[in-house]
Structures are given as structure tokens and as C-alpha cells.
């Protein structure tokens, strides 16, 4: 339950007083008193609408909602339909109250996300810490984060250990442990220990600033459904108002029907002519869906993307960093003439100068200190590997091409992954298998996609055939494209786009590193993680903050539900209005029904849209 604000409490009190006055008027016998009470009841509830409509009419705004309600109720007074005049105003304000309350609720789910804005940073200067605005901190500065404080800027831990609550960023409530050399994202909350950070980027490029910008701009890209309904409502109100005027004047003047009857019918039209139920019903569904996605750690850049996602026909996953963790590990050592330890040692020493992920994994597996003085000569051959002289022996560490180059007798390996062959003095010593681990939810993601009817799922990678098939099999993907260079990835997407043309939309999911052109080539580009490059996040339409591929089927399911609800709301609002208009023209709809067709429909549409905010999608 939201706390009511002051304005809402006042409205509630006014509704109560007005209702009480109306009821006592209905019970009263004395005619003059009765009319007095009706007018009092009307003014208590309606003065705001009356004042607003006066203001708007001075600006020449005749199709304003307040003005229409004022005319309708004053007209009802004029034809002596006192209780109905009061009731229309009373229900209108009550409906507005519920509507505002519900909108506030969905608004809060989105603005809660914006609470991640940090207020200050504790900047470490030569001798003390000072509190400054995050915007003034520069890259390379040191900041301190005490337990309970929000991390103001992205940085690397230089001192201290702690657990971080990243739930406002990723939706994941389990705290994450950090230690020196770990990266910390702004917006997370430091739970347990004091941390010292070296700031990695200025505030306006930080995670927090990027999320806030995304959230603030989400609704600028409107879905087609939203635009249709807005356009419809622009015509709807003037047309209904013109009909109302014709209805009030023509039948009595030309056909001699009673004025009172036909003015009543016209008043029904005026009440139903208000556009807000229509204009609210659809955008609110999208707002709620965007809020719900954000709660689940998915940032969608606009309603139009949700609309497109609901029509997903094919999903293409990138392999490394998307379906796999992107962390390489030595998974097997196959020595020929040495011990496993010695084979690993040679490889690790030879690769000790390189920063390549493969080299890092070798060094990590070896664990011992490497004496670089053992290396007397070193040469890196791009696309092949490394040649070095270690302890006076000629060592070659690299792929099969390097082995061929030296005419070493190497052989294949059955295991999947990247194979690093080792030769000493041109004699084959064996190989080391390095592979990337599949993410825990990769297979589940593919399964869930198939479950919602998306069967065209493929994986592309620049990696070798064996590594690609190994991961694809575990994930349950049959359609695999491997050994692709970056431009070939983009070409693959074009072909895919062509093949599903007219059937639906193409979604690409990548880790955001080096795949900006591919992301931009898909109908909907999804990038993983906020740690991806800035350009990829700009090029993508959806950002999954916690790196989980299983968020893709979840998002598609949400988008389908959103579109369903938006369409329900649109159909419901339009059909109820049309029915009441027809009934009103025939003289069988009362003002009571008319006011329901206006605010009742709004409230129901809002309640329907709010279903999207439920935790479970």
C-alpha cells in the first residue's frame, strides 16, 4: 500500500463530504433544501474541475477534459437532473483518484530505479578524506566507501574486503563478495567492510549515470500501438463533441422532439467524449512492462522494442561471454614425454609476457612464480603462437599452424576447446586444452525459448569448430556458425534477417564486446552486462545487467504479455465507449453509465496494466 500524499487525502475527504451531502439530499423531502444540498455537494467535489476548465477555456481549449465535464454536469443541472449532475462529478473525481493512485504505483516502480543516484563521494586526499559531489571526482582518484554507503563511481578495489548488494542494478538479491583488484560498479551498496577504490571512469560515464539516462529516456521511443491510440484520441474527442451538439439541437429543432430528452442524450456524449481512458490505457501497459523488466535486471530502451520482441521469430546467440562465462581455464593436460607439471611450466613461462586470455589461463593454472630471466629470446607470431628460448632450449607454444611451420609431428586431440601445442627443439611434447565454461542457465534459456514457440535458435562464434560444437551441444543449439571473422558475423545476420523476412523479428544476444555492428544489424540487439563496451550499449536496444542469457526468454514472455494487455485495454476502452455512445444516442444510457464508460474504464485499464508489475512474469 502506498502512503497517500496530502493532495490525495484532501481529495478523499472531499469525496466523503460530497457523498454524504448527496445522500442526505436524496433522503430529504423539502425541495428547496434539497437543491441547496445538491449544489453544495457538487461544489465540494467539483470546484477544482470548474476552475481548471475556466482557465483552459480562456486559452481556447474547448476539448479539454475538465471543460467537457463541467459542461456535462452544468447541463444536467439545467435540465433539472440534479442527482445525476452531482453523481457524474463525484464518480469522475473518484475515478481520477483511483487512476492517479494506480499510476503513482507504477510510476514508483520506475522511479525506485532512479534512487540509485549517489549523493556524494568520500574523496581521499593527501592527508584526509573529504566529501565531494561524484561529478567532481576524476579518473584515478581514490575514494573510500564505508559500510552502508552507496558506491558513487565505478572503480577497482585497492584495499579492503566487503560484500556488495547489487540488487538495484541486477535484480539479484544475493550479495557479491569483493576483494582487492575486483571491479565495483556504482549504484551497488557496500554492506560489510570499508573499501578503498581507485576510480576508473568519470561520473557521467559511470554505470549509475548510464542506467539513469536509459531509464529517463525509455519512453521517448514509443510503440506503434501507443502512437495509434494517441492519434485516435485526437480525433475521437472533437468528433464526439460535435455529435453531442448535433444531437442536442437537430432532433428537437427539425423533428420537434422534446428538448430535455435530447439534451440529456448529448450530455451522455460529452461525458463519454473524454480521451484519458484511451490515452492512458496503452502507454501505461508499456510503462509498467518497462518497470517490470528493470526490476528483473533488464533495461529496455523503449516501448517499440518491447513491441518488436513480442514478434520474435529467431534468436542468435554469440558464444563467448554470452552462452559461456568468457573465463578461460585449463581443462586438460596431455603430455607426451614430460610430466604434466613440466609441460605446463614450459607453456606458462613461454607465454609469461602475453596478456592474451589464453596466456592468463596458463599462468593461473601453473600458479608458481615465473622467473622471467630463464627466457633469453622471445618472438610472438600473430595467429600462430610464441617461439622462445628457455633455459637454452628452443620452445614453440601455439596452434597447429605453428607446429606445421616447424615441421613438428603433432597430433589432434579429441577434447573440445582451444588446443595449445608445445614443442621443444622441434620435438613434440604434448598439448594443453583450454576451454571456456558454459553458463549455468544457457541450456535453460534455449529450452525456455523453445517452450514459448521460438525454434529458430542459433549460435555464432569466431572460435573453432570443436569449441563451438562443444558449447552448442551443451546448450541444446543445433544451428551453429563457427570460425567467423567480425564482418562475417554481420553477414551471417543479414542472411538470417533475409530468411525470416515477413515472419517476425530477429534478436541478437551478445556480450557487448566487439559486436556493435552485429548488434546494430539485428531487429533487436541485446547486450549482456554493463561491463560491455560503451559503444555496444549504445548500439543495443536491450541491456541485460546480470549477464544471464535466461533473461532473454523472460523478456520475450513479458513483451508478449504486455502487447496482449495493451490490446485488451485498447479494445475494452474503445468498445465500451462505442456501446455507451450508441445506447446514449438511442436514449437508453443514463449519465451514470456514461461516467462509468469514462472513469470506470480508465480504472479497469490501469488495474489491468498493473498486472505487469507483478514479480513473476
Amino acid at each position: 500500500m502506498n502512503r497517500l500524499n496530502k493532495k490525495q487525502i484532501i481529495t478523499l475527504v472531499r469525496i466523503g463530504i460530497s457523498a454524504a451531502l448527496l445522500i442526505s439530499a436524496l433522503l430529504l423531502k423539502n425541495e428547496t433544501f434539497r437543491i441547496g444540498l445538491y449544489i453544495a455537494s457538487y461544489l465540494v467535489i467539483g470546484y477544482e474541475v470548474l476552475i481548471r476548465s475556466l482557465k483552459n477555456i480562456m486559452h481556447g481549449d474547448v476539448f479539454d477534459e475538465n471543460f467537457l465535464m463541467s459542461i456535462a454536469t452544468i447541463g444536467a443541472f439545467a435540465i433539472k437532473e440534479y442527482p445525476e449532475a452531482v453523481a457524474v462529478m463525484l464518480f469522475y473525481e473518484t475515478g481520477e483518484f483511483f487512476q492517479e493512485y494506480a499510476v503513482e504505483k507504477s510510476r514508483r516502480s520506475i522511479t525506485d530505479l532512479m534512487d540509485i543516484r549517489p549523493d556524494y563521494a568520500n574523496l581521499l586526499t593527501d592527508d584526509k578524506t573529504i566529501t565531494v559531489k561524484p561529478e567532481t571526482v576524476r579518473t584515478g582518484d581514490m575514494i573510500i566507501i564505508k559500510p552502508g554507503e552507496r558506491v558513487p563511481l565505478d572503480g577497482i578495489v585497492t584495499k579492503g574486503k566487503s560484500a556488495l548488494d547489487m540488487s538495484s542494478l541486477t535484480g539479484e538479491s544475493l550479495p557479491v563478495d569483493v576483494k582487492p583488484d575486483d571491479t565495483v560498479l556504482s549504484g551497488s551498496i557496500n554492506i560489510s567492510g570499508m573499501l578503498m577504490l581507485q576510480v576508473e571512469r568519470p561520473y557521467n560515464e559511470s554505470t549509475v549515470a548510464r542506467i539513469l539516462e536509459l531509464v529517463e529516456n525509455t519512453s521517448s521511443k514509443k510503440a506503434k500501438t501507443e502512437r495509434i491510440i494517441t492519434r485516435f484520441s485526437r480525433f475521437y474527442t472533437p468528433i464526439v463533441v460535435i455529435f453531442a451538439m448535433l444531437l442536442a439541437v437537430i432532433p428537437p429543432l427539425i423533428l420537434g422532439y422534446p428538448w430535455r430528452d435530447w439534451i440529456y442524450r448529448a450530455l451522455v456524449f460529452l461525458v463519454v467524449s473524454c480521451p484519458c481512458a484511451l490515452v492512458l490505457s496503452v502507454p501505461l501497459s508499456f510503462f509498467c512492462a518497462l518497470g517490470s523488466a528493470s526490476k528483473n535486471g533488464i533495461l529496455v530502451k523503449g516501448g517499440n522494442y518491447l513491441e518488436a520482441l513480442a514478434k520474435t521469430q529467431a534468436v542468435v546467440f554469440d558464444k563467448t561471454g554470452t552462452l559461456t562465462k568468457g573465463i578461460f581455464k585449463v581443462t586438460a593436460i596431455h603430455p607426451e614425454k614430460l610430466s604434466s607439471h613440466d609441460l605446463l611450466e614450459i607453456a606458462a613461462v613461454a607465454e609469461s609476457y602475453s596478456d592474451h586470455p589464453i596466456s592468463k589461463s596458463l599462468k593461473e593454472e601453473y600458479m608458481e612464480q615465473i622467473e622471467k630471466s630463464r627466457i633469453s629470446e622471445i618472438k610472438e607470431i600473430a595467429g600462430h603462437g610464441i617461439k622462445a628460448v628457455i633455459d637454452g632450449k628452443r620452445v614453440s607454444v601455439g596452434n597447429e599452424k605453428l607446429m606445421e611451420m616447424d615441421a613438428v609431428k603433432w597430433h589432434q586431440c579429441d577434447l573440445a576447446g582451444t588446443i595449445v601445442h608445445v614443442a621443444v627443439d622441434d620435438e613434440y611434447m604434448g598439448h594443453i586444452i583450454i576451454s571456456d565454461e558454459i553458463k549455468k542457465d544457457a541450456a535453460q534459456s534455449v529450452y525456455n525459448l523453445k517452450d514459448i514457440g521460438i525454434t529458430d535458435i542459433s549460435m555464432l562464434t569466431g572460435d573453432s569448430k570443436s569449441a563451438a560444437h562443444h558449447i552448442a551441444m551443451q546448450a541444446g543449439i543445433n544451428d551453429v556458425a563457427y570460425s567467423l571473422l567480425p564482418h562475417e558475423k554481420a553477414e551471417y545476420m543479414l542472411k538470417k534477417l533475409e530468411s525470416i523476412k515477413g515472419k517476425g523479428k530477429l534478436v541478437f544476444v551478445g556480450d557487448g564486446i566487439n559486436d556493435a555492428p552485429v548488434l546494430a544489424g539485428a531487429d533487436i540487439g541485446v547486450s549482456m552486462g554493463l561491463l560491455g563496451s560503451q559503444s555496444a550499449i549504445e548500439a543495443s536496444d536491450v541491456v541485460i545487467m546480470d549477464d544471464l542469457p535466461s533473461k532473454v526468454p523472460l523478456l520475450i514472455r513479458l513483451s508478449k504479455k504486455t502487447l496482449r494487455i495493451a490490446k485488451q485495454n485498447m479494445a475494452f476502452a474503445i468498445s465500451i465507449k462505442l456501446i455507451v455512445l450508441t445506447a446514449g444516442a438511442l436514449g437508453i444510457a443514463s449519465l451514470w453509465i456514461a461516467v462509468f464508460a469514462d472513469v470506470g474504464v480508465s480504472v479497469l485499464a490501469v488495474l489491468n496494466a498493473i498486472r505487469l508489475l507483478k514479480k513473476k512474469v
Binding site: 531509464v215 519512453s219 490515452v279 510503462f287
Partner: protein, 68 residues
């Protein structure tokens, strides 16, 4: 130049749409966007004059606002 405004009294989506359309008609306007949910307007234009006119339109339909 881009300016953003907080419109605390913006409480009807049809009004947001109306303001947006009216501002869009001003000459010299580059971009205008009203976000009904977070109650914010962002306007991009070249001259102060356009901002003044836009502010008048906002004031007329949504009452008081704050500059950000």
C-alpha cells in the same frame, strides 16, 4: 541546447500529449519529449526564445514546473 523540466502537476497523459504537440509546432524547436511517468519534459532548441515560449505552454497546461 537542451533543457529538462520537472512537471510535478502533470497528471493526465492526454495533457502531456497536448503539450508535446503544441511545443512541437513552435518554430526553432529541435526536439521535445514529455515523459508522463517520471513527470519530466526535455526540450531541445536553438534559442532562448523557443524555451520561453515552451515554458509558457507548459505553465498553461501543467501549472508550475522546476528547471533542472
Amino acid at each position: 541546447m537542451k533543457k529538462t523540466y520537472k512537471l510535478s502537476n502533470l497528471d493526465c497523459p492526454a495533457c502531456a500529449d497536448k503539450i508535446e504537440r503544441k511545443i512541437l509546432k513552435l518554430s526553432g524547436i529541435k526536439e521535445v519529449h514529455l515523459n508522463f511517468i517520471i513527470k519530466k519534459a526535455s526540450i531541445e532548441a536553438d534559442s532562448e526564445e523557443v524555451f520561453d515560449k515552451s515554458e509558457k505552454i507548459i505553465k498553461m497546461h501543467a501549472g508550475d514546473f522546476e528547471k533542472e
